[in-house]
């Protein structure tokens, strides 16, 4: 069971959080301009890499904020958390 640091509330147990998948995937600004293929990539394709991975979590049972975490998908090391709008370098 992970212990995740909410950038607002501090470290809490994993069941307080909801996973949100890969971070930094924006809803397309102009969906109508996208081809079916481009739209499918947005809908269904997410990085599935091994190693450091920037992902989203929501502190569902706490402050309800979405934030990002850098985590190693090979070892479960949690490198750090950072807020929406920040870049992975900000993880701490």
């Amino acid at each position: 069971m992970f212990q995740i640091r909410c950038p607002y509330c501090g470290p809490r147990d994993e069941p307080e959080f909801k996973y949100g998948g890969q971070a930094h995937v924006a809803y397309p600004a102009d969906p109508e301009a996208l081809s079916d293929e481009e739209w499918a990539r947005f809908l269904f394709f997410r990085d599935n890499s091994k190693g450091r991975y920037a992902e989203r979590w929501n502190h569902a049972a706490g402050c309800r904020r979405w934030f990002n975490v850098v985590r190693d998908t090979g070892t479960h090391e949690l490198v750090g958390s950072y807020r929406v709008g920040e870049q992975p370098e900000a993880a701490r």
Partner: protein, 193 residues
Amino acid sequence: MADRTAPLAAMEDRIAAAAFPGAALAAVPFVAQVGIRLDPAGPAAARVAEALGLPLPEANRVSASGGRRALWLGPDEWLVVAADGEERALVGILEDAIGADGAVVDLSANRTGLELSGPLSRDVLATCCSLDLHPRAFGPGRCAQTLVQKAGVLIEQRDADTFLLLVRPSFAAYVAEWLVDGMAGLAADLAAV
């Protein structure tokens, strides 16, 4: 005309009977609660603080003054708590203070209270809640939103041995059930030593 109903009315006896030398539980059925949303860096924060007569606290803290308390819920969210019946006045004050720079919502019926007190109250919570309540990590004047098993709760430490839990009424029986059961286990342990 009929009156309001207390969310835990049906469990009153069990809650009272759970008391043991280590801890006691009591329902606090009605608590005035008003939610505030605003940008702490924006203009409304100071206005609200002034109107309430207390600062909007930092993360995981409670500020209190004159029977009102503000509990931090998130980076732009607080819950103002006061005695039952004050909600209407509070909403008025707060709406005036916030204006268009945030939101004020009366949430007095959205949560109900459970007060847990006694030297073993931390142990009771430890049977169903993973929050670290050790004095090094928590203490009077602190609050946190967390889980009692699967139910969300807002926990406020009131004094050295007393905790107020604010829970959604539909989860209140479940939360009380866990606390009462935890107390039974601790009471048995206490009796055995």
